[in-house]
């Protein structure tokens, strides 16, 4: 019983970060109906940037988003204008091909620059564990989960209340109508894409407080966030968080009770089953 609770709890903590990663993907997909296959590699890239910031300039992983967020934000704008914008009107095969190309490119370049061996930061100011009776929780994971939730809430406020946020929502509902109402949809698309990739910077920083990074991670985070997106459907941030938690908990339970190797297996199985039986997601609005 204790093992179950412990495992569920660590799953919940991971799930919050997963939800943050998937939020970025969901923004991009919701607004311009483009699935960014490179999303997982964006996370990996920002983890490597965090690693650089930490090892070269001694910036703590938890504060690194101050640098990596603008970096990834700019990168997102560049990618949008350089690649995505050119293919918006094209056959979906072309759209996917472009982001797959980007994914392969980022995967290869990380392998060239940082080599295949795993990298981790030596320290973070959030360290140690907290004990609740017989349960232990790593402080870094707890803090990361809390920060993820706060960021998700900020984004949800941004989407609900601010003008650019409302522009994003309007464009995602109907881009033609939105542009007739005076919304510059090109700029909105760029903003959504940049924000989506900027969020991976925060997630990457949080992950680096307790994890290492290696070049195979991109694919894992990518498929993981697709799974959460498929579960959540579009348009509901609460649904996204719950789906993140579902994925986090099932991954954690699979690791504890089945086989550590089964963690990805469980995620992909959920993904495929959800696609089969609930193609619009469990919490989908559209």
């Amino acid at each position: 019983m204790e093992t179950i609770i412990q495992s569920v709890f660590s799953g919940i903590l991971m799930g919050c970060i997963y939800a943050l990663i998937a939020l970025g993907l969901s923004l991009i997909f919701g607004v311009m109906n483009v699935v960014n296959f490179a999303h997982g590699n964006f996370v990996m890239l920002s983890m490597y940037f965090t690693f650089w910031a930490g090892s070269l300039y001694k910036i703590d992983a938890i504060f690194s988003p101050i640098i990596t967020f603008p970096l990834l934000f700019l990168f997102g704008i560049l990618v949008y204008h350089g690649l995505i914008k050119q293919t918006l009107q094209e056959h979906y095969t072309i759209q996917i091909a472009v982001t797959v190309g980007l994914m392969t490119f980022l995967g290869a370049i990380t392998q060239l620059v940082w080599q295949a061996r795993p990298r981790a930061l030596a320290y973070s100011i959030v360290q140690g564990t907290i004990r609740f009776g017989s349960y232990t929780i790593a402080l870094s994971r707890l803090i990361s989960a809390i920060i993820s939730l706060i960021i998700i809430m900020i984004i949800s406020y941004f989407l609900a209340k601010t003008w650019p946020g409302m522009a994003i929502r309007a464009t995602s509902d109907d881009s033609n109508a939105a542009s007739l109402m005076g919304i510059n949809f090109q700029r909105t698309y760029a903003l959504a894409f940049a924000l989506g990739s900027g969020l991976t910077a925060i997630a990457g920083g949080l992950l680096m407080t307790f994890q290492q990074v290696d070049p195979t991670m991109g694919l894992r985070f990518g498929l993981l966030s697709f799974c959460i997106l498929a579960l959540a459907g579009l348009g509901s941030i609460t649904g996204l968080v719950i789906s993140g938690l579902i994925v986090g908990i099932s991954e954690s339970l699979a690791m504890t009770f089945w086989d550590p190797r089964a963690r990805t297996l469980v995620i992909y199985l959920i993904f495929i089953l959800v696609l089969w039986f609930k193609p619009r997601g469990i919490f989908g609005r559209k």
Partner: protein, 334 residues
């Protein structure tokens, strides 16, 4: 007149290329390593050509090429190791099992209307699922390599001392894949698939059974690749979960897109150029640039997709058309 000319010229070109392909092992005879590399080029040619049926004609971006290859390899390899069944037979069985598996996945996928992005995502998840599953499945070896028994050079069991026979087997496979591809392209099914690739909803409205057509395409594709899997396991002499290779599956799709979706020889062309260059670099530079070639692939893919979305084969088509048209014009003048 023009029609006959086109056929003859095309046939002549194919014949010349085929003769060159036949001669390659003789040129490289001294160097087994290079024959292996040439065989690898052909392997990707087979895979990209088969991919063309689903990814090119039907427009379903499939990233699971190595899933079917791995299944084929495992079926034929395990049958050989455990029951001493010759890979010649196991290969066909492997193809059948691979296509059975593909249909098992494909029927619910198409039943629930999963297409476009979601199809692409599902298939790329498939490779990873199988990799993990075969890692955990101890009966067929788990994470340990299982070697195929080696009776020195017995052709009955597809075990050869040199790589040249594998080269010819792969060449035969390639010819088969090309013929199947060409036959499908010119058949009713091919026209259905092309229509599906352009606009699925419109095709459905016109009364085409989308689901059946896509399943047939999936069957041919996975059967061809599953059979290739049998050869693959014999060529390398072992079976291992690393056969389920995600990045390489993506590479097959890249070759198909770069070559030209729906053009029979397009993916083969891309495989010859890109994989050929890659293996040539590997042979001359060694393994130092192992990460570099994927980078080059990605860049080429993005450039081709942005500027020549129909693939590099269209460049050759344009040149060819210009050439033929000019000749006809000259004749008219004369």
């Amino acid at each position: 007149m023009n029609f006959f000319k086109e056929i003859n010229l095309g046939k002549l070109l194919i014949l010349i290329l085929f003769i060159i392909a036949l001669g390659i092992p003789y040129v490289l005879r001294a160097n087994q390593y290079q024959v292996l590399l040439a065989t690898t080029v052909l392997l990707y040619g087979v895979m990209a050509t088969s991919w063309n049926i689903v990814g090119g004609l039907a427009g379903q971006l499939d990233f699971a090429a190595f899933a079917y290859l791995g299944i084929g390899a495992y079926v034929s390899g395990t049958l050989f190791i455990r029951f001493n069944i010759t890979p010649w037979f196991g290969m066909i069985l492997g193809g059948l099992v691979a296509s059975g598996f593909a249909l098992l996945i494909g029927i619910p996928l198409f039943r629930f209307g999963i297409k476009e992005v979601w199809y692409a995502l599902t298939t790329s998840a498939l490779v990873e699922i199988l990799k993990v599953a075969f890692n955990m499945w101890e009966k067929v070896g788990g994470p340990v390599e299982r070697c195929l028994p080696y009776f020195s050079g017995s052709w009955q069991n597809m075990r050869f001392v040199s790589y040249a026979p594998f080269y010819y087997i792969m060449l035969a496979m390639l010819v088969m894949a090309l013929i199947v591809n060409q036959k499908i392209t010119n058949s009713k099914l091919g026209y259905y698939l092309k229509a599906i690739g352009e606009d699925e909803t419109a095709t459905e409205v016109l009364g085409v059974d989308n689901r059946a057509s896509k399943l047939k395409a999936l069957f041919y594709y996975s059967f061809l690749i599953g059979m290739t899997g049998g050869i693959y396991s014999c060529m390398y002499g072992y079976i291992h979960p690393s056969f389920f290779n995600g990045p390489e599956s993506t590479k097959v799709a890249i070759l198909g897109i770069v070559g030209g979706r729906g053009i029979t020889y397009g993916p083969l062309l891309a495989a010859l150029l890109l994989v050929g260059a890659q293996e040539f670099l590997r042979a001359s530079l060694g393994g130092e640039f192992s990460g570099l070639y994927l980078l080059i692939y990605a860049v080429i893919m993005v450039i081709v997709v942005l500027f020549k979305p129909r693939g590099i084969a269209t460049i050759f088509q344009d040149i060819y058309r210009k050439f033929v048209v000019r000749e006809v014009k000259n004749k008219d003048v004369a």
